[in-house]
Point group: C2
Chain length 345, copies 2
């Protein structure tokens, strides 16, 4: 049944080729190639026969094959950390919009916070001849990309910096944003302030912890170990961390939450308790303003991160950007109530 789309044996490999087109049209391969690539030297009559053969067989020119011929494609790869983290949604869309404005296709996938998977994905995209890569790194050693970069692959790192190579990086001011958010809690009279963040090996988590420590030092408050918890962002781990800080003889009166994944659990823990605890959270959340109290956040501009990274990538491709830079975008403190609560005691 040649017509059914479900022939198992038709799954792989038997897509029509230029050779099939040539055979059916009764012309040479070179002639088909001329027609497919719109090159001169073909009579209208022959072109018509080839076109009929192309339509009849459903032949489609393979872009990758064209790359091999012309050494050029128009696609960029985006290596995300987690497809399901809402923070990366606007970032991905911004990259795609810039790619589209340059007539390029965006191809992406995620590392699930696994450095090996990041490398595997990045190299697979290079093997598919993307012109450039926007990478949200999971790992901290990107020397594996050096041959690709030498070979002409444009590369920009976003949200987190590149490790052990010179490369463009577009980051948020994680240190400054966290420092301002914690200083805001200090300004409300808090001294016992907790910090709950992501795994310390992650650049953004380490930078935000550094911002917390700096703000506490600015205020002359010696930080206690029991006030800091870094680790996986799964609800069980975050819940344990929050409940520990909030219990005991001298519980924290305020919490600084290190990212949006941590915040959704911290909000739940605080909502279950009678005593009000102040909260400032890094990253905005869709309904944060409608909670009672509204959640005070240190907001990043995810779309600006993606847009800036993608624009630098295309400037590399245009050859108008010659020196790798590290760009830091500012964050914004948005006060909504939770961060303005005074100490309970």
């Amino acid at each position: 049944m040649p017509e059914t789309p479900r022939r198992p044996e038709s799954r792989y490999g038997n897509r029509p080729t230029m050779k099939d087109v040539a055979a059916r049209a009764g012309v040479g391969l070179k002639t088909v190639s001329r027609v497919v690539n719109g090159e001169p030297g073909v009579t209208p009559e022959t072109e018509r026969r080839v076109q009929e053969s192309i339509d009849a067989l459903g032949f489609r020119r393979n872009d990758s094959a064209r790359v091999l011929r012309k050494g050029r494609t128009a696609s960029i790869g985006l290596v995300l950390e987690d497809l399901a983290d809402p923070f990366y949604g606007p970032l991905s869309r911004a990259v795609e919009e810039v790619a589209r404005a340059h007539g390029a296709l965006l191809i992406n996938g995620s590392s699930a916070e696994d450095p090996d998977r990041e490398q595997e994905l990045a190299l697979a995209l290079c093997a598919r001849r993307v012109d450039g890569l926007v990478v949200i790194p999971a790992g901290d050693d990107h020397r594996y990309l050096e041959p690709e970069i030498k070979a002409g692959i444009a590369t920009v790192f976003v949200d987190r910096p590149a490790g052990r190579i010179e490369a463009d990086c577009v980051l948020s001011d994680n240190f400054g944003g966290a420092r301002a958010g914690v200083a805001h809690l200090v300004a409300q009279g808090h001294r016992r302030i907790g910090f709950i963040g992501d795994m310390p090996r992650i650049h953004t988590a380490a930078e935000r912890l550094r911002g917390y420590r700096a703000a506490m030092e600015d205020a002359g408050i010696p930080v206690q170990e029991a006030w800091m918890s870094l680790g996986a962002t799964d609800p069980a781990r975050v819940r344990r961390a929050a409940e520990q800080m909030l219990s005991g003889a001298a519980p924290v009166t305020a919490v600084f939450s290190g990212n949006n994944r941590v915040t959704v659990t911290v909000i739940r823990v605080l909502a279950e308790r009678d005593r009000q605890t102040a909260l400032v959270a890094f990253d905005d959340l869709e309904l944060a303003d409608l909670l009672q109290p509204g959640v005070t956040v240190v907001a990043q501009d995810a779309a600006a991160l993606g847009r800036t990274a993608a624009e630098r990538l295309f400037r590399q491709l245009d050859g108008t950007l010659l020196v790798p830079e590290r760009i830091e975008l500012p964050t914004r403190l948005i006060t909504r109530g939770s961060g303005e609560l005074p100490p309970a005691d």
Copy 2:
């Protein structure tokens, strides 16, 4: 400066080829090809020379070229509607996990609800020789995919059905879910119930409206035109629609919100008003349970949609799935307070 990764002229086309490897190693192309593809007939000494040349030049075998040779790659494409819609996050991740379990790379992009862009993206992915496509369609005519399907590209549509072709579809029970959600409002004593949904040309929006009408008919309530508003999901449009239904002599006492994008605006409008209005929303939201009142939702299982679609795609590729089917996954009513409010009057 041959060492700098930023040579503009190095941007396109001068990646090392097998020919460069052959020239440097002083062997023939066929020999390099044998080494690259692990074929026999090469002496250890020659293999060593070729390998050195490969390492020195940073040559990487092009998977797409391999496809042309062996007629096989291991990648699937995912055509999303909107990279920034949180509903598609868990769906994308589930597709990627299944692809990964099958050793395949996931390549995706979004149509931004534009049928032309959907077609452009789907065909571009086919031209890059993906083995299969998971499509969340923006358009309603997919005959453009028939040549690809005939040529052996596995295809599964998810969230919305295929148009004008026979294909696997994995959908939520949009009709049944909306009908149950509206029936729940009727059971609380509501009769003037509003429906605010997405553009009626979108399958899910039309099905959910049909569910609303069915529930009203089941209850013997004649629906008034003023109670229904379908259109774009941008906040301004949704706000106007909600405020109109909630004003006038006989305002609605309950609202059924057609999707998560609509809900975030409806919640804001209701939060601004003194008179409490009941709300049941299609699609769950991350913090919906923490709002006051909690938002009663008709929840879809986005991850199950993605997982089921991807698993069917690979069964097509294995040749164990021969007949296209339309699968509907059930939805779940989650009561949290907003849907249990009685009529205000």
